[in-house]
């Protein structure tokens, strides 16, 4: 079959520029569109804020021996997509449910990304900078930044045959803005919505209480797919999650075929997908592989095309070495920007962290390069409170700042001086609460802090006990792995602002004011500058927390899988595989 297709495509003229992919070529031939058909972004009225953004330098990965030299094999010009085949992907944990509306866990979303679509999505080719149309073909923001109007595509069908319309998006926004139950994924993203209107069958308008520079990033966040309103209401029109718990009906390129609990999630091609000629693959199978070494063995034997994404599944340095040296030319490695950070948060209401000098001492003394090398196999970046993104302090400046720069001698000496000034020349003891999974990293920090006299007693707590404790602000310092899904400061607001958030006991009006200002600045370039200033304030001036490392990871794929938009993608970025294909086999 593949051979026939290749002969057929060889007969067709190769496409020059990406044509709009609404060309309805019969399925037996490859479409005349180029391998990455992305419809041109049509916009009416004010250009979307994202388009105005100035390109910021990409975060640098710390130079380490494991940095791989093999170039990722991009699709060559003239290379034709091939229809058919099943993509096999490793997945670490059995998802609890397939309902993406209620479940925020990435375990669920990674297997449902190909099934669902969003109003807007992060550009797979530039996810940290650009937002592109998805189910909405265009959008407008009012000049005051409070009213968002989304114009939706027509002729899109749900996988059960019903038509997609503004009704679905309106229901989505309304339900998330006023959640009827606790089990709704990330409803906090929509807390500032005051009104949702259906302007016409394909136009939805949302009004916010105040401008919010993170709103579009929240709407396009990968865990916000649009789910069918007609399957989320019971006979009385009330919200129910019962149907989507067991059925997955989206608008995306793949449908759910089978979910074998504990074994695999099997997806098959959606022949009614809105982009004609896509997807190329016949199906995707996610195999549940809990053990890391087993995952690599399965990959190496060729039974699995693509390794998993997520903590504990990234390739270890020996595995990277094997791919680089033994599988050269046959398999490749892709860097995943995890947007994770190991961070200790100080409670400035309790000793010894009520003294800014003590906090600054920790900031100066912590050897972040060593943290990266020891805790992340050297893979990752250093940064402040905000993960290196268009919203953080510029990476090029960060690595030169005291606290971050190498060598550390001057900074450590300064730190000891500050400790003495604060009255802790002979050091002091305190309790550092650590989540159980982060114990190793907590121990590293404990050792690091002891060098300036801060003797931490580790209190290792299981997850639920940890959150209990931090909501009661029991201890002077809490250490955990945090995630920043959008790279925007809103992701960490709950840890640093005083407004009803549970983790911190910080009541610094300047912090609150800065977060507000970033949120409400309509011009994105200005908002990003303010955000960098906020990052500086949190990390360097007030040291409300110290981020010791932003660990990244690598996944591997066989080169027979073509057109994977993985290079530099985030851990949370949705992979839909609509324009991916497999050769050979």
């Amino acid at each position: 079959m593949a051979a026939l297709l290749m002969m057929a495509t060889a007969a067709c003229a190769p496409a020059a520029a990406p044509a709009p992919s609404s060309a309805s070529a019969p399925r037996a031939e490859a479409p005349s569109a180029a391998p990455s058909p992305r419809p041109a972004q049509a916009s009416t009225g004010a250009p979307p804020p994202a388009a105005q953004a100035t390109r910021v330098p990409q975060p640098q990965v710390a130079a380490t021996p494991t940095r791989v030299a093999t170039p990722v094999p991009a699709v060559q010009p003239g290379e034709k997509p091939v229809y058919g085949g099943t993509l096999t992907i490793a997945h670490r944990t059995e998802p609890a449910t397939l309902n993406p509306f209620k479940e925020p866990s990435i375990t669920t979303h990674h297997v449902t990304f190909p099934i669902y679509e969003y109003v807007l999505r992060r550009d797979p080719l530039d996810p940290w900078n650009k937002i592109v149309p998805d189910l909405a073909e265009s959008w407008e923001v009012s000049p005051d930044g409070r009213v968002y109007t989304f114009r939706l595509r027509k002729n899109v069908q749900w996988q059960d045959g019903k038509p997609f319309s503004a009704e679905d998006v309106a229901f989505f926004l309304k339900t998330k803005a006023n959640p009827p139950s606790t089990r709704i994924a990330l409803a906090a993203y929509y807390r500032s919505i005051t009104k949702v209107e259906i302007v016409d069958p394909y136009t939805v308008r949302a009004t916010l209480e105040r401008p919010d520079s993170v709103f579009l990033m929240h709407v396009s966040e990968s865990r916000q797919p649009i789910t069918p309103a007609h399957l989320m209401k019971d006979a009385n029109g009330k919200y129910t999650d019962k149907v989507l718990d067991v059925r997955a009906i989206g608008t995306g390129p793949f449908k759910l075929k089978d979910w074998r609990h504990g074994v695999s999630v099997v997806l098959e091609k959606n022949p009614q997908y809105r982009i004609k000629g896509l997807p190329y693959l016949d199906g995707i199978t996610y195999y549940i592989i809990p053990d890391r070494s087993t995952q690599f063995a399965a990959f190496r034997s060729g039974r699995v095309d693509l390794t998993s994404v997520g903590g504990g599944t990234y390739l270890t340095p020996p595995e990277l070495k094997i791919v680089k040296e033994q599988l050269t030319g046959k398999a490749s490695i892709y860097l995943v920007k995890t947007a994770l950070q190991y961070a200790v948060r100080f409670n400035p209401a309790l000793k010894p962290f009520d003294d800014l000098r003590v906090r600054r001492a920790v900031h100066l003394a912590t050897n972040r390069q060593a943290a990266l090398d020891l805790l992340a196999d050297g893979i990752g970046v250093m940064g402040g409170a905000i993960y290196p993104s268009p919203w953080s302090m510029p990476q090029s400046e960060v690595i030169k700042m005291p606290g971050f720069r190498q060598p550390k001698d001057q900074d450590v000496a300064e730190a000891k001086k500050l400790m003495a000034e604060a009255g802790y020349a002979s050091g002091t003891d305190f309790i550092l609460a650590v989540r159980q999974p982060d114990q190793k990293e907590g121990e590293w920090l404990q050792n690091e802090m002891s060098k300036i006299g801060l003797r931490a007693k580790l209190r290792v707590l299981p997850l639920t006990a940890y959150y209990d404790s931090s909501s009661k602000h029991e201890f002077p310092a809490y250490f955990q792995l945090l995630s920043m899904p959008t790279g925007h400061p809103d992701d960490i607001a709950e840890y640093y602002t005083s407004s009803g958030q549970v983790y911190s006991q910080i009541a610094d009006p300047k912090v609150d004011a800065l977060f507000d200002k970033v949120a409400q600045t309509v011009n994105e370039a200005d908002a990003r500058k303010l955000s960098a200033a906020l990052d500086h304030y949190l990390s360097v001036e007030q040291v409300l927390g110290v981020v010791i490392a932003h660990p990244d990871g690598y996944r591997a794929a066989w080169n027979r899988v073509r057109n994977l938009h993985l290079d530099g993608a985030g851990q949370l970025d949705s992979q839909r595989y609509e324009d991916t294909w497999k050769t050979g086999e």
Binding site: T88, A96, P104, T182, P290, G302, L463, T464, S471
Partner: protein
């Protein structure tokens, strides 16, 4: 005798779980730590799960449910526990049986030959191989098996577990390796026990009589020695099934088997009480059934022991 033990298991599991810090409500509301727990949310979820009722009421409701064969739903996935069991128990059971079988098939021949060829090279080699199995943890052996299969034969078991009735060939290809890894580990003790018991039995008067009658070694071993030797060995093998059940967690993780072991560990981490309680009870029932089988086997092996 069985019933009070099972009741004890239910009580122990129930109360031990509730003594542990952290509860399912926090896990659900914070979505495993990806969100923030707000006051009202926790109370609401606790009420949904029935965690706000007094302990003895919660216990009573659970036991009453069991009596009606209503095993409840998982708090984590919302699915009926009966479904989980129907899916996972056969896998764990198949693995436990094959593991026990493998360990016996390795241990008894090794132990017997060791005993008969005592202090010869064969004996020493057998004992070293046996102790090796004891020192190597089964997860390491398992990982090593997969590693060698891939690097030496470029072969990996078929992905996606299938049951023995769906596709027997694929099933064997998937389950023989975990059975081997854990079975090898368990065979060590059993082989030593077999060797020691065999030596003991071979010293008996009736064996000496058999020798002097001129019987061949094979006849003596199989007809006279075996049944006497098997008693302590069978006891140990019975205990080992219980060990095999718990060892299955590691095997299930490495060999991607959708069994009860892994599910139980996740449930414990998430404080999914209904799943933990029910699975523990089921495992207790299995272990007790195995012990019952062992007791019955005694009767068959040794006519002097009779049960009514």
């Amino acid at each position: 005798m069985t019933f009070p033990v099972l009741l004890g298991v239910t009580l122990l599991t129930f109360f031990v779980m509730r003594v542990m810090p952290g509860d399912a409500a926090t896990a659900i509301v914070t979505a495993g730590g990806q969100g923030v727990a707000r006051e009202g949310d926790l109370a609401r979820v606790r009420a949904e799960l029935g965690l706000d009722k007094p302990l003895h009421v919660q216990y009573g409701e659970w036991i009453w449910g069991l009596a009606r064969l209503d095993l409840g739903r998982s708090w984590h996935s919302g699915r009926p526990i009966v479904e989980e069991i129907k899916l996972r128990f056969p896998v764990t059971f198949e693995l436990a049986v094959l593991t026990a079988l493998t360990s016996v098939l390795i241990a008894i021949p090794v132990g017997v030959i060791s005993a008969l060829r005592r202090d010869t090279l064969t004996d020493h080699v057998a004992r070293v191989v046996s102790v090796f199995g004891l020192t190597l943890p089964s997860f390491w052996t398992g990982t090593l098996i997969l590693f060698f299969l891939v690097t030496w034969f470029n072969w990996f078991p078929p992905m996606g577990f299938v049951g023995p009735f769906e596709d027997p060939v694929a099933n064997i290809q998937q389950i023989m390796w975990p059975a081997l890894a854990v079975g090898y580990y368990l065979s060590a003790y059993l082989a030593r026990m077999t060797r020691a018991t065999m030596l003991e039995v071979m010293r008996q008067d009736y064996i000496r009589t058999a020798w002097s009658k001129g019987l061949r070694e094979r006849v003596i071993v199989v007809r006279h020695a075996m049944k006497n030797m098997l008693l302590p060995v069978v006891t140990l093998a019975g205990i080992q099934v219980a060990v095999a059940l718990e060892g299955s967690v590691v095997a299930e993780s490495i060999f991607m088997l959708p069994g009860m072991g892994l599910a139980l560990v996740s449930a414990i981490q998430e404080r999914d009480y209904p799943v933990i309680q029910t699975f523990m009870l089921l495992l207790a029932i299995v272990v007790m059934s195995v012990n019952l089988l062992v007791d019955i086997t005694y009767g068959w092996l040794d006519p002097r022991i009779r049960y009514n």
